[in-house]
Structures are given as structure tokens and as C-alpha cells.
Symmetry: none
Subunit: 248 residues, 2 copies
DNA sequence: AAAAAAATTGCAAGATTTTGCAGAGATTTG
DNA sequence: CAAATCTCTGCAAAATCTTGCAATTTTTTT
């Protein structure tokens, strides 16, 4: 049995059952546990799974195991959310997407703010629902399990019929020349629709994601109106972006 | 069972119920209580939960402390969910509403089940999204902050256009003569529509809610097809219901 | 096609981690 | 305060990991 073949099967097994055991795999492939261990180590190095004692887990477990680190970036996200707050005025219709930064924004909303929010993200909606004064409308559709947002034709169709004042978009990849990018085709389609619908598009991202590129393009920087990071707008890391987009 | 896997599941459980018990976990994972204790200790050291005598609490527990009662009844709800599971078959279109019993049902779904779920409940949808094989469609609309479900014309309109095989409805008040009742006008409207849409309606409730009545009527017992509680179907407390509806 | 280089694999010895258990100690409950 | 429940500690067995190494296979170079 070839190494690549084994590793492909391991990934398949992981995607199916969310976990694999060293002993199982060793027996199944009829190789030593050391070999499997090395396979898992390689896949873990390639960020394809999480290696743990005795086997490996799907990356989907990371959500829970990784919480500690998320709390690390949490300060930055709060800062971003603080800046974004200033753009909100009573009576607005605001489109807000998924991602932890948007959830953070939803969390720190002033309680007396009277805004109508439109969202397709379950976590964002749940957080928004804590705010008495604001109205929340959820955009229904097919649920994407990884990102916890709705996607598909229904979402896009609805987005064609509204004209929100603002759109808060969390970004996954952003680069001065490549623009805003993401890795999932369906998610990109929805984000494009959100962009198109909104009067003003605000990109939210932590500096860690600057100069990173994903597989699929959403838009150029110039297609959005404002970029918010946790950095000071004059920070040198934002230099290359300044000519394409306003920065807060 | 892998250690990390256990710990991830513990965190998941905590995020859902805000609490875990040592004895429960020990039994569920089939490991000694000492092991679970050590797991909880580690997670507590990592600031991921709050260790207390006999178990652990969510870090956000303080804010939700008043929900203690709901959390308490969670064993009964698991039992109900177990019974409901038997009704699900591959390929079905299933309408599932909000409430902690439905969330519990979503949680214990067998991973290989291939069902298309329709829901208007954020917590239910979030839980369903953990299941690889099942498809989830969220019914968009106005978000009711108290119940975390969507309500209003859009929801009702969509419900008119579908014919699900089953509908799982959590109930708030149920009484042999008064039928099924609820306290919120908009929620009642949506539940009525769900009833009307579905081929077969299954009512889920813990026995605590038997013989209680809320302000607004949803339907008579005879309008639903099956009642599931945590009690044995022959229990005397269900006596008065037996002539109106099938009981599981 | 032969030689050299690189990658893969299994093995063994020793280190480390995990786990259940027993007994002593602490806390809660009625 | 006495019983019940939970916690803590140390310990030993089992499982898992690490490292170095040698045998084998595959790939590259000459």
C-alpha cells in the first residue's frame, strides 16, 4: 500500500467519522503503528487534521479545543467591532454576515440602538437576538454546516430585493492586488450578492489575515468602501491598501 | 475514546447545557470518574470551563443562571428525543421547531441518518449543523428574540409551499380538553402553519407540562398524530390523553 | 543500466502519558 | 453530627510516543 493512498484513506475516514485511531489504521493498512503515526504527523503538519494521542481528530473539533487561542484574537476583534459601531445610526437597515468579528460586533452593540439587521449567519443572529431594541431578520436558505450561514439561491434571491444602507463583511483572505477572497464557492456567491445589494460595504478583518489569499475571488478592494482592522490606520502594514480603499 | 475527543465533547456539552455532571460523563464515555475529573481539571486550568463539585459549569453560566430549571430537566428530554428518533427514516423531509427538546433531538441524531430538515429555530439549526449527512434548510423571517425562532409572514408563506413527512413540535402547554396552547401570538401562528403543512405531527413534551394551559390555542390533541413524553405510555398521568391521541 | 541519493518502513529501548484504583481527607445534606 | 458524596494523592499497569538505526524500496543522477 502506497503512502499517498494510505493518507488519502485516512482523510476520508476522518471526514466520515471525525476521528481515527492509530491501532485501527495500523491493522487496516497492515503496516506498523509507527508508519501510521508518521502519516498522521505529516497530515497534521499540513493542517489537514488534528493529531492527538492515540489517533487524530477532524479539524472540526478545533472549534472547541482551540477556544483558548480564539480568546487570544478576541481583543483585536473587540477593537474592530468598536470602530465599526461608529457607523451605525438609528433607523438604518444593516446587512451583517458571519464570522467571529461580526459576532463580536453584534455582542457589543449599544442596547439602545434601533437598527434593523439582516443576517444569514446563525451565530450572528443568536447574538443579535440579545438586543432588545434592534430588529433582526434572518435570511433563510440552505445551511452551510462549516460556516453556519445560509447559502444558495434563496439567499441570493432575497438579497436582490433589498437595499441595505450598510453591509458588514468579515473577510477570510485579503490582499492589495488579489482583492478579497474566500475558499468556498457557495459562500463567495452569497458574499458577492451581499456586496452588490448594499449601499456601503465595510470589510472587517484582523491584521493576521492581511496579505493572505484564498482560492476564490469575491471582489477587488475598490469594490468595497471601508476597511477596518485593529491596527491604527497609519500603520505601515496597511500601506499597500491605502491607495485602494479607505481605512478606519 | 480519545482523551482530546472526550474533552472536546465535554466542551460541546457545556456550551449546550451550561453544565455537565461527572457521573453522566463517566457513564457516557465509559471511563472512570477519576478520568473525567482530570479532564475537567485540565479544561478548567485552560480556562475553558468552571470546575465545581460534581461537575463543571460554562464560564457564561453566571449570566444564564436563571435558566437552571430547563437545564435540570435535560435527562427527561434526552429520553423523549430517543423515542422520537425511531420515527426518522432516510430520505424524509422533516420539519422541526424550537425548544430544548427539539435541540436535544437534534443532538442525538445518528450520524449516518440522511434526512432533510426544515427548521425556523436558531438553536435547533445550529445543533443540526453538526451532522454531516443530513441537510438543513433554515426558514428565514423575522427573528423572535425570546424564542430564537423566526416568525411572521415569510415563515408562514414558506410553510404553505412544502409538504414535510413529519413535524416535531415542542409544546408549552398541553391539556386533554384545552389542547395544545402557547403564550405568544406570533409563535402560535407559525406553529399552526407547521401543523397544517406536515403529513404527521409529533408533539414533544416533558410530563411537567402536562395539564398546563397557556393563553392561546394552537390545536386540539386530535389534530396531532402522536404525543411523546418521557413517561411510559401506560403511565396513569397520560390516562386522560389516551382517548385523544396516540402516545409513545 | 549501474551507482548514488533519498524516502519509506519496521523495530527496539527508554521516556512519557493516561488511566483505574484504593485509601485518606474534605464537603455537603438532612 | 453522621451518612453520603465528592476530591485528592500516590501508585502501578497499560498504552502511546520518541528517537535512532538499519533494511528495503524508490527516485535521481551519472
Amino acid at each position: 500500500m502506497l503512502k499517498k493512498e494510505r493518507q488519502a484513506l485516512i482523510l476520508k475516514e476522518i471526514s466520515l467519522h471525525n476521528k481515527v485511531l492509530l491501532t485501527d489504521l495500523s491493522e487496516r493498512f497492515d503496516v506498523s503503528e509507527d508508519t501510521v503515526r508518521r502519516d498522521l504527523q505529516e497530515l497534521a503538519d499540513a493542517k489537514q487534521l488534528i493529531k492527538v494521542r492515540g489517533g487524530a481528530l477532524s479539524k472540526s473539533y478545533q472549534t472547541y479545543a482551540f477556544r483558548g487561542k480564539n480568546i487570544y484574537a478576541y481583543k483585536e476583534k473587540t477593537l474592530i467591532a468598536q470602530k465599526a459601531l461608529g457607523l451605525l445610526k438609528d433607523g438604518m437597515l444593516v446587512l451583517i454576515g458571519g464570522g467571529s468579528t461580526n459576532v463580536e460586533l453584534a455582542r457589543i452593540l449599544p442596547p439602545e440602538l434601533k437598527v434593523t439587521f439582516l443576517t444569514n449567519s446563525l451565530p450572528t443572529a443568536l447574538m443579535l437576538s440579545e438586543h432588545q431594541e434592534s430588529e433582526v431578520i434572518f435570511i433563510g436558505g440552505h445551511l452551510s454546516k462549516a460556516s453556519k450561514i445560509t447559502i444558495g439561491g434563496d439567499v441570493i434571491h432575497l438579497l436582490r430585493e433589498i437595499r441595505p444602507d450598510l453591509c458588514f463583511l468579515g473577510v477570510n483572505g485579503i490582499d492589495p492586488s488579489e482583492g478579497v477572497t474566500d475558499s468556498d464557492w457557495e459562500v463567495v456567491r452569497v458574499k458577492k450578492s451581499m456586496l452588490k445589494a448594499a449601499g456601503k460595504v465595510i470589510l472587517l478583518t484582523i491584521s493576521e489575515k492581511l496579505n493572505s489569499t484564498q482560492k476564490i475571488k469575491i471582489c477587488d478592494l475598490a469594490d468595497a468602501d471601508l476597511l477596518i482592522t485593529e491596527l491604527d490606520p497609519t500603520d505601515t502594514r496597511l500601506e499597500a491598501y491605502r491607495s485602494h480603499i479607505n481605512i478606519l
